[in-house]
Symmetry: C2
Subunit: 210 residues, 2 copies
């Protein structure tokens, strides 16, 4: 089946949103925890988180010019800190509910029953029910003029993870940590590992690391 540029442009708006969102493939999905200067908490689901580099350890997120992500971005710019909390099979429905457009004075922690937890003097709240939690120090804001989106880049400064998920070589077994993935706007998936493959070199056969 072939869909060309003209057909994409003519798609009904919501249908295009579902289609284009699906085309990017499986995505990282996580809960971003913030607080404003008065310690009022906010929690929002993001499926636009991406690795930027390991040295320094940087992670990026895309913000669209619309709620409910506004509170999150304002808090990040106001305070400089946020948390990224992996979503597991037990909390993805609560995580999805945070995408509803709540008023600013309502905390998504209260509404969903997810529990904020503060650790090691980090300003922003972590999600207690998440198995893999990251404390992020805001570094850079990049505006994408083509469609008025914004990229927020931060440095990973705190990592909390289950000890049995960390391999000797630094690889984290995300399946063991129960981290899930998503596709499109609303589809959640667990995973089954196919393999870990050796570092690829010309004229050398790839081998399994498992």
């Amino acid at each position: 089946m072939y869909i060309d540029k003209a057909e994409i442009e003519q798609l009904e708006k919501q249908k295009r949103v579902h289609l284009i969102n699906s085309l990017g493939g499986f995505k990282s999905v996580a809960l971003v925890g913030t607080a404003d200067e008065n310690k009022k908490t906010n929690l929002a689901i993001f499926s636009s988180i991406f690795h930027i580099g390991a040295n320094p350890p940087l992670i990026g997120m895309i913000f669209r010019p619309s709620p409910p992500e506004r509170d999150t971005m304002r808090n990040i710019l106001e305070t400089g800190f946020y948390t990224i909390n992996h979503i597991n099979e037990n909390l993805y429905k609560q995580a999805h509910q945070t995408s509803a457009r709540y008023d600013k004075d309502i905390s998504e922690f209260d509404v969903t029953g997810l529990k904020p937890v503060y650790k090691n003097n980090f300003f922003a709240p972590f999600v207690s029910e998440s198995h893999l939690q990251l404390g992020i120090d805001f570094k850079e804001k990049i505006d994408i003029s083509i469609n008025n989106t914004t990229i927020i880049i931060g440095e990973i400064v705190q990592i909390y993870l289950p000890e049995n998920c960390l391999h000797e070589d630094g690889f984290i077994d995300l399946e063991k940590a129960n981290t899930i993935t998503c596709s499109g706007l609303d589809s959640y998936h667990k995973t089954i590992q196919l393999d870990r493959l050796s570092y690829a070199k010309p004229d050398k056969e790839i081998t399994s690391l498992l």
Copy 2:
């Protein structure tokens, strides 16, 4: 288990690369096909592809300042076109092999046996074995100064997909298309759908769309 900023900085380089790469969660992984002005083809695996917006339909990729991604970026800037081809269970080993550092005069299509295919007058080659192929028109290059990486943004102008994967509302069933996901530098995973959830609203229970 808690790892703080000082410990992250002290990690041995390759261990840090594995660790930080894993922290971003499951990622989209795809083969990017390009050709230079002389129609010499190139194929490279990328796990840094992310959705930017549906209107216009934009997709982003991160380029690190190192091979083998250099050929891909040069071809994109030189010709303005590239393809993004989803990876399925049957071709992920060949896809992984494209990450080896081949000389510029060697095409990863030849080395891996994956077949380039040209369609509807699109300049860049698609991967014949991929079930979900996108033709992309280069739009914008953004340099991230913190770590010398580059974001390439393009518009999706051609979409090829199996007809039975496209739902009425625009959602694409990526599992039916056999698209896989990856984590870290070298781990590949297939998925099992947990659910599709209804659009979240305050004071309304989420329901399953399945």
